[in-house]
């Protein structure tokens, strides 16, 4: 039996939903996967409608656009290890575009 973890994700499509809600997905726990890897698994295998900022993500902690709330604390999805069940939410105080994508994920200092 392969171990799995529960990934609880905030969902909100402003074009359809009146308010946000949470959805839980079961993801195989492979040692050393990041939160981004877990969301990729959900997107590719369980629900292709899930939105998280990755179309231009660097996956190396440099672009900082995958910053979300992970278990209530801000963290980069690509640099946070999955070690057990977790909750992923959009950054607070930012307008949600869809699900975990917010209007401006990070600001450059230039």
């Amino acid at each position: 039996m392969n171990k799995t973890v529960e990934v609880k994700v905030y969902r909100f499509d402003p074009a359809v939903d009146e308010s946000g809600y949470y959805q839980t997905f079961e993801v195989p726990l492979v040692q050393g996967i990041s939160v981004m890897d877990a969301l990729d698994y959900i997107y590719e295998n369980l629900d292709g409608s899930l939105a998280y900022y990755d179309h231009a993500a660097c996956n190396q902690g440099i672009c900082r656009r995958c910053l979300v709330q992970i278990d209530g604390k801000p963290g980069l999805m690509c640099q946070t290890l999955v070690q057990g069940n977790l909750t992923v939410e959009p950054l607070p105080k930012f307008e949600v575009v869809k699900d975990l994508v917010t209007k401006k994920g990070s600001k450059t200092d230039a």
Binding site: A15, V16, I33, A56, C58, I62
Partner: protein
Amino acid sequence: MYNVETDVLIVGGGGAGFRAAIGAREKRTTATLVSKGPLARSGASPMAGADLTVHGRGMRMAGFFGEPRDSEEKFFSDIVHHGCFLNDQRLVEIYVHDGPDRLMETLAWGCKPNFCDERAVFTSGTGIMDAHLRQAKRVGVDLLEDIAILDLFVEDGQVVGALGIDIHTGEFITFHSKAVVLATGGWHKAYTPVTGSKELTGDGVAMAYRAGAAVGNMEFVTFACNVPLWPPIWRGSIVTYVMSMLCGGTLVNGKGERFLEQYDPEVVSTASKTEWNKSFFSNVAAREVRAGKGTPHGGVYYVVGDTPWEVFHANAMRSYPNWQFKGVDFSEMGRMLRDGEGIEVGGAAEYFEGGVCVDESFATAVPGLYAAGECAISLFGANRVAAATMEMLVSGAIAGWAAAEYAQSTTFPAPSSSQVKELQQKVERPLHQTKGPLPGQLRKRLQLEAYEKLGPVRNEEELKVLLGFLTEAQRDELPKLSTTSKGRLYNKEWLESLELENMLLVIELSARSALERTESRGVHYREDHPDTDNDQWLREVVMKEKVGAPAANTRPVKQTSLDLPTGKIPYLEMVKQMMAAHSDVGGHH
């Protein structure tokens, strides 16, 4: 839907795009830069190490140490030898000549140098990008981010704009321009693992090809060596690549054998200390894996080897204080290395030598269309050596100036409404279709196929299998792709299905070129044609659309002052000769 009018439209938010946009403003035209990702954090540029390479005298002009015995001629010769003579020598001359100007302005715009060697100023990719972002704002470039450009509008054979979508809202944007500069980088996302970011899907190369431009040298792909393959969170990081240069260490295969010992010690030693490392180590590591001697995740092990741990550790701490690299904690990696556990490493797609064919002003053969940076055919020929960060600035500036001059001389034909409508309908297809293949899954299969069959080592049989896969995917799956969500807001599957058309196309062009080139040269190694054939193959493979399918042709390389070698010799013998021909200038390049 809304419209944007501009003189010069620049597609791509990395270094080439920014420098082109600044260049257009320097010639006093309006310039709009469209970035697919975040401004100054998009593409491969911010991920670069990064160094800016110029010849030693140029270094001294800019106030750095530099090697006084160096010259434009020596740097030129070294680049052409590294490129195994497949370089367009006209473009190499421009690179060598313009480098010092691009270096000095980058510093003047606020980029901070860290240290330098004989031929390079080391800074950071983010530092280079921030400096160019500031300058672009200062000179009044219109900047747009998180917008994907999907295709070019062509009227009477002239490029007159492009269709884009705002990735957040899904809204169409029609760009109407007198000239377009493509600066969209490589097609990293068609592979895994990679060292570039995910928006790099070959968009510029694919759009130029569809607009009638020729593409060339598509078979050449540089793989960064010694990149972690496992655990997944480290995949694609250049941490071990940099470590192998600064701290030493060696490679062993999955059976625990030190396989580097079977190669010429001089070649191994030169490769360990210079930019030859990428082509050599990625190649020999892939050979071990293909011989069934790989690690569980398809690589080889990077280990400390004969270097005493104290020495290795001290070197590591100088560059990675507390095992921190670019803000990421690698202390677990430090523990593994100390305890003699190998790190599984291998090649990761990093730089694409191939691209849109351009002349000395970085103009394509299609009026109004320019290409700069990695999406243009590389001046580095068959193997990249000196910095691509300098290539992007040199080519970006010239493309921006040339596009602006062209824009000043041309009229402003608008894209026809039928063309706009037709393209929008095609783009919207995945939103209307149901029960088709899922874009994320097709992309994943493409990545695995490309890495396996169009990696550092190729052969005819596998390339043909890959082409079979691509043909089927293009015929049976691509037209039927459908999205789970039918909404337009940040619809990942919708964007991916549009990117897939480009990725399948550029991998096809690359595989066809690789099949065409029946020799081994630079980063293209054919195990069924293991010699470098200077008599037959000092030619570029160029592809152009002909009645709906790519037609391959070859053309001689453009030569200026350096005579081409002759004869057919084993691949590693050619590498050794090219290494031996390096000038007396030291340093990494």
